[in-house]
Each structure stands twice: as structure tokens, then as C-alpha cells.
């Protein structure tokens, strides 16, 4: 090294602590303190630079003359050992004459971690003092942490807002008296069922003799009966069935995946029997029943299932059940269409 050696080395250690001074033979003559930290327990002095680091880009022949020609270019490097950390670098060829700065015919290489800095800091246990005072690494780390914390706070806020939205929707879709779904929910859920091309049974159910309960025993008794009806429906159906109170004493049930009319009849009849069990309210006995009409989605052409048609047909079947003397279930049958309800009395299709 030239006479200015120690002075130059000290200067470089402060200004660019991740530098190396390389001799004309490609060996490291001096390394900055941070660069030395990348090789704990290893003496980097005297080693060939290219044995410690691979210069991935730009391509070069590997001789010192090749390296010197990379002067000023942006280098992409990788450590050959340890965690094989990537680095960025720049090289400057040093003067050939003996009286120049640094090792004559050698090179100065300065390195930085670039985007791999977060891993590198962990892998090598680097601290604030390992970076030059002008280096923005610490500010970058600060920003990463600050932004991560701010993002996390925003994410939590979003989660809470989403939770509140779901709760609000749940409320808007729920019949507050019975806890069943309401008319709005039904429209929404049926639309989804049509889109998913899943088959289902559509059931319209009207309570029979409910008005009498309301009129003679009062609204409190009526409300109690409605809650009991809802409870019975929940007990008689599966969790993925949709139970809706569409009006005062009118209900719609959507039984998912059902394609068999006999099975629907069985469920409907069991439900009617259950609803006919007397309900006691404040010592008074309330006795009701239900008329039920149903239709099956598998009987309608797809795609473009005609929901309005299905609703109409389920209604037709319901009126057939009422006409048949109430307290019974009628499956929709195409011949019912357009006929008067009484026409179905003799042949409730099952």
C-alpha cells in the first residue's frame, strides 16, 4: 500500500464501512469494519475477493484486468458462504503508478445490502453503528417497522368494521320476534341458491287458526306461539335449511339439496304434527295447525331457474292444502296450474 495507506483506510472505514481495498493480484488488503463483520471468525485480509463474493452481474472474465474494467458499473454480488447474502456494489480501479492512492493496480469496492438488508441485519447482528452516518439504512428499517405497525392498526380497524357490518346485516336480515330470517334475507339467499345451481325444496307455510289465538288470548299469546313455531321449525330442519317468516303468520322454508317429493312430504307432515301440539301460555291452551304447499327446484329448467314461477307454484300448492281442509301438505303438480284451488282437493299430489 502507498504511504497514505493508514490514513486512507481510516477515511474509508468512516465513510464507507463496507468497502474493500483489493491488491493488483485480487487479494483483500484492507476491509471496512462492517464488511469484516460478515465473516465472523474469518480473517478476510489476504483472501481473494472473488473467493468470498461472486459477481453475478455484469459478466466478467475473473482476472484483475476484467474486474478493473467494471469501474463505475453497478455490481450484483452474492456471498459464496454462510447465508449467501446478496449485495450491491460499485468498483473503482486504482491508479497503476506506485505513488497513487491505495494498492497500485488494484481496486476499491464498496458494498451495500440493497433490498436484502433486513435479513442481513438479522443474520450478521448488525447495529446502527455499523452503518455510515449518511447511510439511510436505519431510516429504512424505521420506516419498515413504522409502516408495518400502522398497517397492522389499519388491518385491525378493518376487521372490527367488517365485524360490525356483518352484525348489522345479520340484524337487518333477521325477524326480531322469532329469530328466523326475514323477507329481505329470503330474496338474497334465494338469489345465491340460484347462482350456485344447488337444488332445493321451496315450502310455503301458513299457520291455521292463529288469528283466533291473537283475537281471544291477545298479542302476547300470539307472539309466544310464533316463537314456539319458530323453535319447532328449527328442531325439525337441518342447520343449512333456510327458515323465513315472511309475514304475520306466513313462513317460507327452503330445504337445501332435496329433490324427492316424498321426503318433503314426510318433513312437512312431521312439522305440521309438531305445530298441532298445544302450546300453553299463562295457563291458556293455544291450538293451531299449518297448511303447507311445496315445490322442488329440480322440476324446473336450468340454467335461469324461474324463482317467481316457483314461488307462484308453491303458493298454488299451499292454497290447494287450505282448500283440502287445512292442516295438511300438498306438493305442487303441473296440472294444478291455472285451475281453481278446489280442483286439487281430490288429488293432493305427493
Amino acid at each position: 500500500m502507498a504511504a497514505a495507506g493508514p490514513y486512507l483506510a481510516g477515511l474509508l472505514d468512516t465513510v464507507c464501512p463496507m468497502h474493500a481495498l483489493i491488491s493488483a493480484t485480487g487479494h483483500i488488503q484492507h476491509a471496512g469494519p462492517t464488511l469484516r463483520k460478515l465473516f465472523p471468525g474469518d480473517e478476510v485480509l489476504g483472501q481473494r475477493f472473488l473467493e468470498l463474493f461472486e459477481i453475478k452481474r455484469p459478466g466478467h472474465g475473473g482476472t484483475m484486468a476484467d474486474l478493473r474494467r467494471l469501474t463505475g458499473r453497478k455490481l450484483h454480488l452474492r456471498m459464496r458462504h454462510g447465508p449467501r447474502t446478496e449485495a450491491k456494489g460499485v468498483l473503482v480501479a486504482l491508479p497503476e503508478e506506485k505513488a497513487g492512492i491505495g494498492p497500485s493496480g488494484g481496486a476499491l469496492i464498496n458494498l451495500s445490502f440493497g433490498i436484502s438488508v433486513v435479513d442481513a441485519i438479522r443474520d450478521f447482528g448488525l447495529t446502527g453503528g455499523d452503518f455510515a452516518a449518511t447511510d439511510l439504512t436505519i431510516e429504512m428499517l424505521y420506516l419498515i417497522e413504522a409502516k408495518t405497525a400502522a398497517m397492522e392498526a389499519s388491518r385491525l380497524l378493518n376487521l372490527r368494521l367488517q365485524g360490525a357490518k356483518i352484525a348489522a346485516e345479520e340484524q337487518a336480515y333477521t325477524d326480531t320476534l322469532t329469530g328466523l330470517k326475514n323477507r329481505r334475507a329470503l330474496d338474497h339467499l334465494l338469489e345465491r341458491l340460484v347462482m350456485s345451481e344447488q337444488d332445493f325444496a321451496l315450502i310455503h307455510l301458513d299457520l291455521d287458526y292463529f288469528k283466533a289465538v291473537n283475537d281471544t288470548l291477545g298479542h302476547a299469546a300470539g307472539d309466544h306461539v310464533l316463537r314456539e313455531v319458530a323453535r319447532a321449525m328449527v328442531q325439525q330442519t337441518r342447520s343449512d335449511d333456510i327458515l323465513v317468516r315472511t309475514g304475520g303468520d306466513e313462513f317460507v322454508l327452503v330445504l337445501s339439496r332435496l329433490t324427492d317429493a316424498a321426503r318433503v312430504h314426510e318433513i312437512a307432515s312431521r312439522l305440521i304434527a309438531r305445530l298441532e301440539e298445544p302450546v300453553v301460555f299463562n295457563g291458556d291452551v293455544c291450538q293451531i295447525s299449518a297448511s303447507v304447499g311445496s315445490t322442488l327446484s329440480c322440476r324446473y329448467p336450468r340454467p335461469g331457474l324461474d324463482l317467481d314461477r316457483m314461488m307462484e307454484d308453491a303458493d298454488t300448492a299451499l292454497y290447494a292444502a287450505k282448500a283440502a281442509g287445512r292442516g295438511c301438505h300438498v306438493s305442487f303438480d303441473p296440472p294444478m296450474r291455472g285451475k281453481s284451488a278446489t280442483g286439487c282437493r281430490s288429488k293432493p299430489a305427493v
Binding site: V118, I121, R122, G125, L126, T127, G128, G129, I138, E139, L141, Y142, L143, E145, A146, K147, A149, A150, A153, S154, L156, L157, R160
Partner: protein
Amino acid sequence: MHGMINRAIERFVRDTYGRNAWGLITARAELDFAEFEAMLSYDDHVTEDVLGAACDVLNKPREALLEDIGTYLVSHPNVEALRRLLRFGGVDFHEFLHSLDDLPERARLAVPDLTLPDMELREHGATTYSLICRGGHPGFGHVITGLLRTMADDYGALVLLEHKGRREASEIIEVHLLTSAHAAGRAFELSVGAA
């Protein structure tokens, strides 16, 4: 006032005195919610109401309460992130003090709508400083006093701090740095989860 600051007061009360104390304070301050959202903004009077209620419920003078909040912010494990962010300010307490000028700017980089009072560090000789906090909520200087006291411990420095009061919307804190490496201090790794 930014939700971040209201949330800090809330976390301090919850983590130090428990949720019952927080419940009493929100009731006394007549908040119609139980939790502040860190990423929303609130009317300034809300902060004042909560601080007033906290002084009454916890039976603590306002200055002491604010200083305790400052201490809490950089010492409780539940808010470790803030302590880490402040430690990025410098490798020792001396450097940290000099980073305080940048603090409002640093806060803004992280959360663009978070506005902190301007801070200016003046050096009187090698070991005496005064930190001037301009504008901001009255009492902000007390929070900073608690925060500085605890950060000094964090760095292992020995300091004397004195809040010199409020004059024309400015609060001045006097700092005597007795020694910058008095004790070992708490470890600080640049990378999260390294230690």
C-alpha cells in the same frame, strides 16, 4: 386529536389500572363507546374530557398522570413497537436527543395524519440541553418528560430532567446528561425478533 393519542391514553389506563378503571373513566367522560380506534380521528375535547376524568378517577394530578403515560409508552411490553421506533433515532442517548427534532416528521412518515408538536433541542454546553415543545395539547411536555426519563434508562444513560412549565404555547424541558453510558441499558436489535 388523532386516535393514536387517545388510544395511547386508553392503553395506559387499561394496562396499568385495569378495565374497571377505564370503564369508570369513559362513563365519567360521557363517551358513548368503550374503545378508541387508533386509526380514526376524534374531536379535541374528547381527549381533554378523558384526561380530566382519568385524573378524577385515579386521583392523580394531571402532570403526574401525563408523565406516567410517557413512561408507559416506552416501557410496557404491550406498546413495545413505539420504544423500538424511538430507538432507531440513535445509537446512544446523546444521538437520541438529537433525533427528537425529527420526531414529528418521523411520526408523519409512519402515519401521515398524525401531527405532533414541533420539537427543538438546544445544546448549552456538552451535557445540558433544553427541549422546546411548541404548540400541541397543553401538558404534552409532561408526556415527553416521562418518555425521556424512561428512554434514558433504556439507553443506560443517567439524566436529570426538569419540566420548566408552559409559556406562550411552548413547554420547555431541561435535560442534564450526567453520563451517557451509566448502566447497561436494554438491548436493542435492529431486526425484529433477533434477540
